[in-house]
């Protein structure tokens, strides 16, 4: 009886040690995986890039034919930018895929996309050299993670080494969407107002004016939805950047319950913002 009583705490201690060891070898990190998965999905969203590239063509419906050669030139210039813009989305996707795999203690997957990304970095033109360097740094880390067969133990290394360039890449995306795409939408709104107000001033036929008013309302609503998508996607991108910054600041203690809860809050905020984009 006496031996049995002293053996129980010992067995409990052994169980606790084994549990701790198991945790050290492969923590659950659900919130990190959740954050990475949601960021991956959000980075796939490329409709705003498409809308930006096609904006000059859309403006043709409002502008007189004399302006069309200018709009055609702009359309071709933007078409040439398309790959570079989508490349940023692809990089965030690939990075979040690797982050999620390491958090799950899996091997980052080598795929053709990663190979294509590396080649694209070599050929893409970046207006900002700092951004080009950041892009190359994140891309190189991803390749290292795959070729060196990184596992969860390297998660901290990935976050630590990639945070600075990752913030530059995401910051560039925020700037393009927040200033470029929203500026573009403002131009489209002015064009729409200019076109319909002029027609309505010149119009005499009541039925024609009524039809014009309906079309104007339809186009205005379409544009309002697009503007809302831009605002929501800015929140998405900023949350990805902030969430990764939090990962960086807490990289040494990712399995702590309070850190998990913090990261989960970013994942939830990201889901909410991205659902708002998708719901439009």
């Amino acid at each position: 009886m006496r031996r049995h009583r002293t053996g129980q705490p010992l067995r409990l201690l052994v169980v606790v040690c084994l549990a701790l060891l198991a945790n050290g070898c492969g923590a659950n990190l659900t919130s990190v995986r959740d954050f990475a998965a949601t960021s991956f999905d959000a980075a796939q969203y490329s409709q705003l890039v498409v809308a930006y590239v096609e904006a000059p063509t859309r403006l043709k419906r409002y502008e007189p034919p004399a302006q069309w050669p200018t709009l055609d030139r702009q359309a071709s210039e933007r078409q040439a930018q398309r790959e570079q813009l989508l490349l940023r989305h692809k990089l965030v996707q690939e990075y979040m895929s690797a982050l999620g795999q390491l958090a799950a203690d899996g091997l980052p997957i080598y795929d053709n996309e990663l190979d294509a990304l590396g080649k694209a970095v070599q050929t893409a033109k970046f207006a900002d050299q700092g951004e080009a360097a950041a892009f190359a740094a994140v891309s190189k880390l991803l390749v290292t993670a795959v070729t060196d067969r990184w596992r969860q133990g390297k998660l901290e290394t990935l976050i630590e080494q990639s945070n600075a360039p990752f913030q530059v890449v995401v910051g560039g995306m925020v700037k393009v969407v927040e200033q470029g795409f929203s500026g573009d939408a403002a131009i489209e709104r002015i064009a729409l107002d200019n076109y319909y107000t002029t027609l309505q001033r010149e119009g005499k036929d009541p039925a024609g004016l009524a039809a014009l008013a309906e079309w104007r309302e339809f186009r205005t609503n379409q544009l309002a939805t697009h503007e809302q998508a831009i605002r929501n996607y800015v929140v998405v991108l900023k949350t990805i950047g902030q969430g990764h910054q939090k990962l960086y600041e807490t990289r040494n203690q990712l399995s702590k319950a309070e850190v998990e809860a913090d990261i989960q809050r970013y994942a939830n905020r990201l889901k909410e913002a991205f659902n708002a984009v998708k719901g439009l």
């Binding site: 702009q74 002015i190 200019n194 001033r201």
Partner: protein, 132 residues
């Protein structure tokens, strides 16, 4: 002078956009007193300025503008002065002069020709000053 940055290009885009709106406001608020030809002239300038704003966004997003020798502050100042002048003018001839000079400035910026930029920036200032 420092090269134009993407922030400068975004700011220029907004200036051209605002100027286009100001000319449109003028056209609509003076609709009944303007001739059809003047309305068309003003509207053409509005479209040109709006497309210049769009060009600036394209540049800011993807292309380098660092060859430009003109300072962003001076360029922004020219576009802002033009917008202010249009808001206070009543004479359509003067509005057209300012609008035409501004379209010339936008085209010069796109051409990245430092001489043309300086010349057209001065033309905008001159047009605004002449209307004061």
């Amino acid at each position: 002078m420092p090269p134009l940055t993407s922030d400068d290009a975004f700011a220029l885009s907004k200036s051209f956009r605002d100027l286009s709106v100001a000319i449109g406001d003028y056209r609509f608020s003076h609709w009944d007193t303007l001739s059809a030809a003047d309305r068309t002239t003003l509207q053409n300038e509005e479209w040109s300025l709006l497309n210049a704003a769009s060009d600036m966004i394209t540049k800011a997003v993807g292309l380098t503008l660092d060859e430009s020798q003109a300072g962003a502050a001076r360029l922004n100042g020219a576009a802002a002065s033009a917008q202010k002048a249009v808001k206070t003018l009543n004479d359509v001839r003067k509005v057209i002069t300012v609008a035409t000079a501004s379209v010339g400035l936008a085209a010069a910026i796109m051409s990245k020709d430092p001489g043309a930029i300086a010349k057209n920036a001065k033309a905008v200032f001159d047009a605004v000053t002449a209307t004061a």
